[in-house]
């Protein structure tokens, strides 16, 4: 075969491949052509740097820039005004020697507060979206890959029992706990061995198929989408102690549906692709097919929605803080700077304009970058043969 094979062998020159380009180089080349996305990326990087330096400068026991230092005698100074050195204590003099962005109604340095707020916005954006994307990928992936698998009565029982045990761990007596856990284990064992056999009577009932995994998860997505999410967040935040972490988690838990839908749709179409069939025919494990073959191909639209989602999370946090449900007062966020400033709209317009413009620019940059990513990552918009 080898001798006759030589005739069909392509000479190396026949396989003249273009110069090797890594994915990153290619990505960069595409990005450079997309002016708006590039601007978005630049602003995003600037924002990132500002937020990190802001975090470094405004935290600690004696921060470089103290965002909560009250100087009532210097209240409502406009931006770029020099401090009145005579009326200030030595440790009250602003580090820069100038009120770069002015002061608010308590004489606090708006520049320092904006820096601190940038960090809050950044972490809220990233952590909330991180949670949302994680939930989205897991649920969307389950729904897309195992969608056809039925959920059986026994499985529902197990889920209910597990929830019961976990939520009432401390309240239940040892005896009841033991009974509940052993029922759960028995059901699980039953499930393991019931796949191929037919059962009669009550055991048959346990083995009855209720609905498919896909119906369950898409149902959950639809239910979550029914809630006006901002008010859902408001309710939850009102019930929980006010803290920045609760806000991140709540925003994350209420915004995963988009990512889940994207991943589900991608998985549904990827499942039918020949390269996935080929992997199955080669005997590659499910786990490897999902994470090595499908997730890398499904991640692009999720990345896009995540980028735009960060903008949404920043806006939500600002909105919550503006309404007073957000991060508690001494801590500065762009939302509560804006909220505090609205009372002085005509006397000190910079108090509203500065955080407002900052939110606008950052959200816009994320959206632009997200849109650009979509164009770059969407293989349909690219000719490559």
């Amino acid at each position: 075969m080898q001798d006759s094979g030589s005739e069909h062998t392509l000479s190396t020159e026949a396989l003249d491949l273009p110069a090797r380009q890594t994915r990153l180089q290619e990505f960069w080349a595409q990005l450079r052509k997309n002016r708006l996305a590039l601007i978005g990326l630049v602003i995003f990087v600037l924002f990132f740097i500002v937020a990190v330096t802001g975090m470094v400068l405004t935290t600690g026991t004696s921060p470089q820039l103290d965002s909560s230092l009250v100087r009532l005698q210097e209240k409502l100074r406009p931006p770029l005004s020099r401090p009145n050195l005579k009326s200030l204590q030595a440790d009250e003099v602003p580090v820069l020697g100038i009120y770069l962005l002015g002061t608010d109604e308590l004489g606090r340095d708006v520049f320092a507060r904006m820096l601190q707020g940038a960090w809050v916005s950044l972490t809220v954006g990233f952590v909330a979206v991180g949670i949302a994307v994680l939930i989205g990928i897991i649920l969307g992936g389950l729904s897309g890959y195992y969608g056809h698998s039925p959920v059986r009565v026994a499985q529902v029982f197990i889920a209910v029992l597990v929830v019961l045990v976990v939520t009432n761990w401390s309240r239940l007596s040892f005896k009841t706990l033991a009974v509940l856990i052993s029922i759960t284990v028995a059901l699980a064992v039953f499930l393991l061995f019931s796949r191929k056999k037919e059962f009669g009577g009550p055991l048959f009932l346990l083995n009855t198929q209720l609905f498919s995994v896909d119906m369950l998860i898409t149902g959950l997505i639809d239910i979550m989408l029914c809630f006006p999410s901002f008010f859902l967040i408001l309710t939850v935040v009102a019930l929980l102690p006010a803290s920045i972490y609760n806000i991140m988690i709540v925003i994350g838990l209420t915004s995963w549906m988009g990512a889940a839908r994207f991943v589900r749709a991608e998985f549904l179409s990827l499942r039918e692709q020949d390269f996935v069939t080929a992997a199955r025919a080669l005997g590659v494990s499910d786990w490897r097919i999902i994470f090595r073959h499908m997730v890398p191909n499904a991640i692009a639209p999720v990345l896009v929605s995540a980028t735009i989602g960060i903008a949404g999370a920043i806006l939500t946090e600002a909105g919550l803080s503006f309404l007073g449900f957000g991060v508690p007062p001494p801590h500065a966020t762009w939302g509560n700077i804006l909220s505090d400033g609205k009372n002085y709209l005509f006397d000190a317009p910079w108090l509203t304009i500065i955080p407002g413009v900052a939110i606008l620019v950052v959200v816009l940059s994320f959206n632009l970058f997200g849109e650009g990513l979509r164009d770059i990552l969407n293989p349909k918009l690219r000719e490559r043969h």
Partner: protein, 330 residues
Amino acid sequence: MKEDSSGNNVILKVQGLKKYFPVRRGVLQRVIGWIMAVDGVDLELSGGKTLGLVGESGCGKSTLARLILKLVEPDAGNIFFRGEEITGLSRVEMKPYRRFMQIIFQDPFGSLNPRMTVGQSIEEGLRAVGVGSLEQRRRRVVELLEMVGIPALAAQRYPHEFSGGQRQRIGIARALSVDPELIICDEPVSALDVSIQAQILNLLRSLQEGLGLTYIFIAHDLHVVEYVSDNVAIMYLGHIMEYGPAEVVYSQHLHPYSSALLEAAPVPDPSAKRSWTPLAGDVPSPFNPPPGCKFQNRCPLVEDRCRKGEITLYEVNGAHRVRCWKVLGR
């Protein structure tokens, strides 16, 4: 088929294979009918030979391929690989058999993972059968690539850097990675240009000679199937209508559908002027077909009895079989 079964080189045997897909409608997803994709197929395949599977779209040839590979579970029937039944096997039990049966696809663009290098794609198979070290796998990848006529440096490249024909070669290398005995070629050349098609067909043939491979060759191009096949099965709506050695099926076909199909195929010769009237009507949908012969609504020889009762594959002589009583004078 009789002759084949007397020989002990039967690699694959399929008996009464059926796959019905439910069609669901409404909120409650009630089953309103069935698509009879594969409706009772018997086949026997001897080692080192090629079985051509011909038919129009919707005839169930691709479903049959996936059933044999156990990528889809059959609703009825048995599949024997080298005499061992693989029908009821679970995923885990099936794993050792996977390496013996592989598939090559039609679409050279969808068959390779765009996010993996060519080398990684081929390595997947080696990893699945547990070929030892990274070093060994790399060496084998290079060997495989050279076998299909692609330079070794291609291993680090991504699929989009290759042309359709080159990708098809890479797909073949991936299938070969696990040393299979049977390869199902699902329209491997339909998406390729004529000159590239010939290259791939030659490659498949020389691989068959060199490695003793058995092929199931699915295609809609009748000339290609005639060229590659030892035996040919003509499928229509989930049934095999005619089966036999390629020369017999092409020159002495009996079934009215075979005649219609083979005569409709355009011939690359201007002197072969078309004087016949082509078969009227469309390929009916495999959704809830009528009882009796599946070809009844397009058949020029149809009689009342064709609309009732099941018609089986009748033996003509030796391996040649036809699913029609009319042409056999019964």
